[in-house]
Amino acid sequence: MRITADQAGARVLAGLGRHPQDALEAAVVLEAWGGLTARTSLPLASGAVRGAPAAGEGAPPRRVRPVRRERDGDDPRRTREVLGLLATLLATTAWFAPLSEALGRDVAARSWALALPLALGAQWALRRRHLSTPGGLGRLRRDRPLVVTGALLALLVPPGLLVAPELALPGALLVTWVGGMVVVVRGWGLPYAGALVLATAAAAAGVPAVLDVLAVVLVTAAAVVAAVGTLPVPKEGPVPWGRSLLAGALGAGTALLVVLDPAVEWSGQQPFPVVALLPSLLGGLAASRRLDSVWTVLVAALAVTTVQERAAARPRLARVFARIVAGATARLLLVAAVCSALLLAVLQALPGPGAPVRELVPLLAGLAAFGLVGFLAGLLETFTRAVGAVLVVAAALAGSSAAALTGLVDVVPGLLVAAAAASAAALVPLARLVRHPDRTLATAL
């Protein structure tokens, strides 16, 4: 077929409905839609691209597709998740009194103090390794180390509760808290919460506390097996152990703040700290929801900024990012404050002597501060700022210890000191994170 360069240019324009991007695109059009052979189309293609305007000219404005990474789910699912977590915490808290009675207050308190860091560490590690990608829960059953650990716990804890409950109790709490999270993430939070409420009622009705815990452990283990076993295994592999274990260590480290804080009384008369953790937990959930907008609002702002404009646009982009982080922090503190006030009112309204307000307020403030430490560490870890995240937790632990050693805790709750130290340690890494939003997202691999 004979064709002139002008005809080739016209053919390409007609085929594409626009000018070609380059000579190769012109050649492809001439070959695939013009019926020319490669030997004919390739030499003609250079002519077809001459005089074409810039590729972006006349193009419609870029449509910005929102990007969401590490999406946990839609709103109803998130609500169910929150309700399930609340129920898990409340139910296990309700066991404290009967277990203290059956096993001794020291045993119960020690078990809680041991289980809390382990459970929080396991939850953070599990979230990072599997739950940060959609459908990741189904992958759990292919994760041999986790399956072996879970199977060992499920096999050893139930008989352990019957034979040596004082030794097996931390394991039972670990299974309930971590297993509960798995069941809740599966979307079965409400029925699971119902089962826990029944167990709590049974304990109140006089069922021996250890048997009650045993039943919950068995139900939880069965629910986890069903939750994981009924999901397809996603093809994508898990996040490597290195990063998951780091997340786990950060989670455990933040929990240590609560466990080691001398002001958080585990065996006294004041409301049990697990209940008092609820406001900060809810605050953390509200904050993480706000942080999700990094993948929509911030990415949308980046999508309307050309590479050449980015230096000039940096202050504007940094403000967008800073507003998201500040908004998330404010949400955490606000939700924690409101929920603490509500909890305080509920505790004061309960029959019985109750704890004095002057003891409860510092406790709740301290635990809200604990939530802030977790939030800051989690934020840095999410953007792969491992060193910053470790620094935050280390600073919090150091601050808390220093407050205890110097007697500062008599004036200010140790957890507030820890949060202040963590915030100070987070300032520089957070500023670096926020000042260069493009760099932050690019390097969060």
């Binding site: 691209v49 193009a59 093809k235 999508a303 900024t305 590479v307 760099r439 390097t443 691999l445």
Partner: protein, 505 residues
């Protein structure tokens, strides 16, 4: 490196195909590994993360030696027992890869040292891309790229920061692919001039392992076609096609032998830098056909191919509608899967199918494990592709003495010469004329079919194709054995690219 066995070993590098996906390239790979039992094949598969299970049963002389899932969470690591390198830094890594693979007028081998560094420091690849300095250097290189001017290159479209982020992530995966350790082998057989070449480039630079490229379609052409048909904006089209071009140029520069399945595709390879003297076409082949069964004479038209824009199923449907207008009893049977990512295209085809009123007249029958068998039910075999190498579907039709009506793309004409009718891609009227004529004149159809059968027996026996690869692989293995393996410390650029012409288009 493990001790060499006496049997020659081939690293077979695939991208999104064998042994995880059914298709023409995979069928070819399976023919080669089963047909060349004297070689041991170590498969190095580069795939998307959702591909896990092999769909081919590998013969005893083949195994999956490495499987790199792009876009998954796994980071490259040091090989067990390998010494820990000092905390190496290469903040220019992203910029080097960007310039080397997306620049229009760069020497394709300039990128090799950066790729080699990735293999030598696999555990440093992800930390390097996490470093602020790497991103900064990458952006500077992107600005340089945007300012590049070349008469054939057109203008670079405006790139926004989100594009830059996506491109940075892609670049990090190029580095991870280069970092992937491959099993020890005597020769690398690369099946596409794309991502799969990266490990082979590094192996050649480090150990002198020769590279044989067997090209089926033309990778860069298919990337341009996909981009041209997509609804992506100019910036996304630019990055996708420039990367494909860069990878193709790198492949042609590094390959010792470029073996297209048809001489028709050699023009692209030469244009992008392959030295003509290194291009050795080896056409596909099919098992020697026996005596063909007579055509059913039921006005049945069969087509075989995946539901993919490259196969231009929409044109096929329009041809069917036009043929039905002329030959009301004509029936169309299409065999082929919907590959991952083409679900929307398949939906569009079904909508067109309904709009053209083809219910009951054109059936989508899904995958077939017996492509040769299904063409026996045909009076005419139809193919409407806009890009092809040397299609097995056409050879299988000819081997069963069925006339072929096809678009003349790639090496189709070479295969079908005198045994069918061709038309320009997208020429509905021309294709419909041909199909209608053959359905109305079964004697003519039978004559063409017999010619095709004879042509396949004479020119395209599978054994000839296998012998071609046996010869090429044997020569490359022998050439490597005759030359001492260069030390890894030697400059990589001296080890690759002999004979490359460095074409810039």
């Amino acid at each position: 490196m493990s001790a060499r066995t006496s049997r020659p070993r081939v690293a077979l590098l695939t991208e999104g195909t064998y042994p995880f996906v059914v298709g023409g390239v995979s069928t070819w790979c399976h023919q080669v590994v089963t047909g060349l039992p004297e070689f041991d094949f170590e498969l190095v598969a580069v795939t998307s993360p959702e591909l896990e299970e092999a769909v081919f049963r590998l013969p005893p002389n083949a195994r999956v030696g490495a499987h790199l899932q792009l876009w998954g969470p796994r980071a490259p690591r040091r090989a067990p027992g390998a010494p820990r390198a000092p905390r190496a830094r290469r903040p220019q890594l992203g910029a080097e890869l960007l310039r080397g693979l997306l620049g229009w007028d760069v020497a394709p081998l300039d990128v090799v040292p950066a790729l080699v560094w990735c293999r030598q420091h696999p555990e440093r690849v992800v930390p390097t891309f996490r470093a602020a300095a790497t991103w900064t250097a990458f952006l500077a290189a992107l600005e340089e790229l945007a300012a590049e001017r070349h008469p054939d290159a057109g203008e670079v479209p405006p790139l926004d920061v989100r594009h830059a982020l996506e491109l940075y992530a892609t670049t990090s995966w190029l580095a991870r692919t280069a970092a992937e350790a491959t099993p020890d082998a005597d020769v690398s057989l690369v099946t596409a001039a794309g991502w799969a070449v990266l490990p082979a480039v590094v192996d050649k630079a480090l150990t002198g392992r020769p590279v044989l490229l067997s090209e089926h379609g033309v990778y860069v052409r298919e990337a341009y076609l996909a981009a041209a048909r997509s609804s992506d904006g100019p910036a996304q089209r630019f990055t996708a096609t420039r990367l494909a071009r860069g990878l193709a140029r790198l492949t042609y520069a590094v390959a010792d032998v470029v073996s297209p399945v048809t001489a028709a595709n050699a023009a692209w390879e030469e244009r992008l830098g392959a030295a003509p003297g290194r291009i050795v076409p080896v056409p596909n082949g099919v098992p020697a056909p026996g005596e063909p069964a007579p055509a059913p004479r039921t006005c049945t038209v069969v087509s075989v191919g995946r539901i993919d824009p490259l196969k231009d199923v929409a044109t096929m449907l329009r041809v069917a509608a036009e043929v039905r207008r002329r030959v009301p009893g004509a029936r169309f049977l299409h065999y082929g899967p919907v590959p991952p990512g083409q679900e929307a295209y398949a939906r569009g085809c079904r909508e067109l199918h309904a709009a053209l009123g083809l219910e009951g007249a054109f059936e989508f029958r899904g995958s077939t494990s017996d492509p040769t068998g299904v063409v026996r039910d045909a009076d005419v075999v139809l193919m409407t592709s806009i890009s092809e190498g040397f299609p097995m579907a056409v050879l299988e039709a000819l081997s069963q003495a069925r006339p072929v009506v096809t678009t003349h793309v790639g090496g189709v004409l070479e295969a079908v010469l005198g045994a069918g009718v061709t038309a320009a891609p997208g020429d509905v009227a021309g294709l419909a004329d041909a199909v209608s004529t053959l359905l109305r004149d079964p004697e003519l159809a039978e004559r063409l079919g017999r010619r095709g059968h004879a042509r396949v027996r004479r020119n395209f026996p599978q054994q000839r194709c296998l012998d071609g690869y046996r010869l090429l692989l044997g020569e490359l293995v022998g050439a490597r054995a005759a030359v001492p393996v260069p030390a890894a410390a030697a400059g990589p650029r001296e080890l690759v690219g002999a004979g490359a012409t460095g074409g810039a288009s």
